[in-house]
């Protein structure tokens, strides 16, 4: 399984902070994103945000990264700390 986390506005808009997804159907960040977008219009709209950031195993990365069972993927808006 792949653990999927959502933070800040993305979490609020999806009303979801955490999900488990099957690893065999989500072999890359790109595949995971398209499966999540296919859930409904709201998920499609929120996750189509061009400024969406992705981290795999707590490191910021792009959509091309491959995923494996046990990975942790997080989606979040641009960071605003400091």
């Amino acid at each position: 399984m792949i653990k999927v986390l959502f933070f800040a506005q993305i979490r609020d808009q999806l009303a979801t902070s955490e999900l488990q997804m099957a690893s065999d159907e989500n072999s890359s960040v790109q595949a995971l994103l398209s499966n999540l977008k296919a859930r409904d219009d709201k998920w499609n709209r929120v996750l189509s945000n061009t400024r969406l950031m992705v981290a795999v195993n707590q490191t910021i990365c792009n959509d091309n990264v491959d995923l494996h069972s046990g990975d942790e993927v997080a989606f979040f808006p641009p960071v605003t700390g400091g």
């Binding site: 986390l5 933070f7 800040a8 506005q9 609020d12 400024r51 981290a55 707590q58 490191t59 910021i60 997080a74 979040f76 808006p77 641009p78 960071v79 605003t80 700390g81 400091g82």
Partner: protein
């Protein structure tokens, strides 16, 4: 030293910790505070969310990059989380070095990276008790670019 905490911090304690090594000739510190007006809104409280685990590791990576670019003897980064009030301290970066140039540059570098790479998010509540997430600023991204253009 890297700390992510809800408690406040004491500037004097952190400064003293940075000047223990007799080779230290310069200490530069930065602190960020909760401001009353942001993006045209009167702010009453600020809440900081973060991504536990990744926050600490991303700050450690930012400090490691600074240490590879400048001569740093000691470095402290403290970032607070949770609900904060006006004038509260949000963030502290302190750099101890042989000379001021390295300390100034490393301090600015760490803040510019922290603002665009460390997973913290600010939510403000205004005087009418409406809450909203703070938008990322393009100027923060531009500040980061000056370190990669060199």
């Amino acid at each position: 030293m890297i700390k992510v905490q809800s408690e406040d911090f004491n500037q004097q304690v952190e400064y003293n910790r940075l000047r223990k090594d007799p080779s230290v000739g310069a200490v530069v510190t930065f602190s960020g505070l909760v401001r009353d007006i942001n993006q045209g809104e009167q702010v009453s409280t600020l809440t900081l969310e973060h991504y536990p685990g990744m926050t600490e590791s991303s700050l450690a990576e930012i400090v490691k990059q600074a240490e590879s670019r400048w001569n740093i003897i000691d470095c402290t980064v403290i970032h607070r989380i949770g609900e904060l009030q006006l004038l509260d301290q949000i963030v502290f970066v302190g750099i101890a070095s042989l000379h001021r140039q390295d300390a100034f540059a490393a301090c600015e570098f760490i803040m510019d990276y922290l603002k665009t790479q460390a997973p913290f998010w600010k939510k403000e509540t205004n005087a009418q008790q409406q809450s909203y997430w703070v938008d990322a600023r393009d100027s923060d991204q531009e500040a980061l670019n000056k370190w990669t253009d060199k």
